[in-house]
Amino acid sequence: MVRPQFTVAVAQISPRLGDVDANLAMYEERVRAARAAGAALVVFPELSLTGYFLKDMVSTVALRLDAPEVNRLRALSRGGALLAGLVEETPDYRFYNSAVYFEDGEITAVHRKVYLPTYGLFDEGRYFARGECLRAFDTQLGRAATLICEDMWHPSTVYVAALDGALTVFCPSTSPLRGISDGQEQDNNARYWELLNATYAQTFSLFIVYANRVGFEDGVGFWGGSEIVDPNGARLAKAKYYEEDLIVAEINLKHARRQRVASPLLRDENVDLTINELLRIRGRELEAAARAAALQPAGSPPHGQVVGGAAASQGKRPRGARHVGRQR
C-alpha cells in the first residue's frame, strides 16, 4: 500500500575514509535525528559507509549483502526506510559502487552504479565493476529509482527511470567541489548539479532527492548542497554548502500528478522513435566497424575470423538491429 505523502530526510555527513564502523555509528545517529524530525525515509550519500577515495582499500571495506554491518542497516531501517551508499561484494568477488534501499528490515532494491567516472580526479573504473541495470522499483513510498552521482550526468539514465515509472529519483552523490567563478556563492560543479537537478525534475516531472556529502579527503573537498526538488523544478529543501547538515521535506506524489496533467511530456514521449533512431545509429557504427574489418589484408584477420564482416558483405543488417513499431 503506497503512502502518497511522506517525509524524506537527507543526511549530509562527512564520512571517515575506510572506517566502516565509525560511519555506521554516524548512520545510526543520523537516522535517530531524522526520525525525530518525522522522516519516514533517510537518504545517505554515495559510498558514505566507506568514504570515497578508497583506492586499494576497496576490497578491504567491501561488504556482502549478508554481512553483519549490512544487518545493522536492516535493523536500522525498521519502522521506516533508508538508502545507504557502500561497496558491495558479490559471491564471485566483484566490487560494486552500490546504493541499497532498505525498508522495514529488508532490502527492497540495490542499484549498482552504471557510469564509473575514470578521468581527471576520478578512478572508479580501476576498482569497481560496472552496473548493468537501470530499474525503477516499488516501495511503500511509491515507485522510485536510484541513480548514483555520475549516472545522473547521462540524461539517458533519468530518461529510462522516468519511463520505467519512477516518480522519485534518489541520487546519492559524493561530488567534489571544483571550479570557481567570480561572485558566486558556490563552486562551479555545485552550480552545474543544481541546474541538472532542476532541469531533470521539470523535464521528467518527478521528485529528485539529491544527497551529497561534505568534508575533505586528501585535499579534495565535497560541496554538500543536498537538495530535494519537486516536479516543478522548485526546491523543497536545501542543505548548507561545505558543512554537515540534515534536511527534511514533505513529498506529495500528487504534485507529480498535477504537473503531468498540465504538461504531459512523458505521455507524449515516442519511445519507438528513440529506439529506432538509436538502433539506426548503432547499426551504422557496427556496419562501419564491419567494413573496416573486411578491408584488412587477406590471411591476417585476428583470431582467424573477421567479426561482423561476413554479415556486412552479405548485405544483412547487423545482429540486434530490429526495427520497432510500424514498418515503413
Binding site: S14, R16, L17, G18, D19, F53, L54, K55, D56, M57, L177, G179, I180, S181, D182, G183, Q184, E185, Q186, D187, N188, G215, F216, E217, D218, G219, G221, Y242, E243
Partner: protein, 281 residues
C-alpha cells in the same frame, strides 16, 4: 563560467569569500583528522606565508598557529618587520630562529658556493627547523607554495616546497594577491615586489624574466583550460614565451613527484600500492 578579461582572454576567477571558506574548512579538517590541533609556518614577510598563516589562524584559532621567522644576516630588515606586522594583526604565536650561524659554518668549508646553492641551503635549513618544531609542538607544517611557483618549479625541493598540507597550492599568484587583500594581510605586504630574499636585491620577477600576472594569464590558459600552443599564440602570447614557460613546467615535473623508484615487485609504492594520505581518517 569563464569571464573574459580586459584583453579578451579568459580572466582568472578570484572569488575571495568562497576560496576563504573552502581553505579554512580544508585546514581545520586536514589538521584535526590526524589528531592534531596546531600548525607551524615559516613566516618570511612575503604575501604567501602571510596569507597561509592568517587562514590558519582563522581555521584553528590564533593560539594554534606558530609562525617561525628565520632570518639570515643578508635578509632584508623590511621582511622581518612585515612578518611582525602579520604576527601582530593575526595575534598568532611566534618564534625567531636566526639561521646565520649554521649556514655560515657550512659555507666556511665550501666558500666558492654560488648564490643558488646558498639559497637552497637556507631554504632547506628553514625546512628542518619547521619540522623540528612541528615535532616539538605536536603540530603540522603548513605550506606556502602557490600554483604558479609549483608549476614553474620556482621553489626548493625539500625546502620551501616541503609541508604536511598546503592551502595555497592550487592558487595562482594572482589569486593569492586577491585573497590576501580580502583576508586582511597588511597592504604593504600585498603590494610589494615578491622576493625569495635569498640574496640582496633578489626579486622573483627579475629572476624569472617575466611578471607574475603575465605568466599567470598564460598558465591559466595552458594548464587549467588546456589551450594548445596554436590557441595560445592566437591569444597573443609570443611563441618564445609559450615555449619557455612550457619547458619550465615540463622540466620541473620531477619536483612534483616522489623520487623515481625502480620497479622490481608486483606491488610498488606509489604505483600499485595506492592509498590516500587520509587512510583511515
Amino acid at each position: 563560467m569563464v569571464a573574459a578579461g580586459r584583453d579578451g582572454r579568459p580572466g582568472i576567477p578570484t572569488n575571495p569569500p568562497l576560496i576563504r571558506r573552502i581553505l579554512t574548512a580544508f585546514i581545520a579538517n586536514e589538521v584535526r583528522k590526524v589528531g592534531v590541533e596546531r600548525v607551524v609556518v615559516g613566516l618570511s614577510g612575503g604575501v604567501d606565508s602571510a596569507l597561509s598563516a592568517m587562514l590558519a589562524a582563522e581555521a584553528l584559532g590564533p593560539t594554534n598557529v606558530l609562525a617561525i621567522k628565520m632570518p639570515y644576516r643578508l635578509s632584508s630588515a623590511e621582511s622581518l618587520s612585515h612578518a611582525d606586522q602579520v604576527i601582530e594583526r593575526a595575534r598568532i604565536e611566534s618564534l625567531q630562529v636566526d639561521i646565520t650561524p649554521q649556514i655560515d659554518a657550512y659555507f666556511a668549508r665550501f666558500p666558492d658556493a654560488d648564490n643558488m646553492r646558498r639559497g637552497n641551503k637556507m631554504a632547506r635549513e628553514r625546512m628542518t627547523i619547521l619540522y623540528d618544531h612541528s615535532a616539538r609542538w605536536k603540530a603540522l607544517v603548513l605550506g606556502t607554495s602557490n600554483k604558479t611557483e609549483l608549476l614553474l618549479g620556482y621553489g626548493t625541493l625539500y625546502g620551501d616546497m616541503a609541508s604536511a598540507l598546503n592551502p595555497l597550492g592550487d592558487l595562482y599568484k594572482t589569486q593569492v594577491w586577491a585573497l590576501a587583500d580580502a583576508v586582511g594581510v597588511p597592504d604593504a605586504i600585498v603590494h610589494k615586489q615578491p622576493s625569495a630574499d635569498l640574496w640582496a636585491g633578489q626579486t622573483d620577477e627579475a629572476e624569472l624574466g617575466f611578471g607574475y600576472r603575465e605568466v599567470d594569464a598564460l598558465l591559466y590558459m595552458m594548464v587549467d583550460l588546456r589551450y594548445s600552443r596554436a590557441e595560445l599564440h592566437a591569444a597573443g602570447f609570443s611563441e618564445a614565451f609559450v615555449r619557455r614557460v612550457g619547458d619550465m613546467v615540463r622540466n620541473s615535473q620531477f619536483k612534483r613527484r616522489l623520487p623515481v623508484i625502480a620497479k622490481i615487485s608486483n606491488r610498488t609504492i606509489d604505483r600499485d600500492f595506492r592509498y590516500a594520505r587520509d587512510w583511515g581518517r
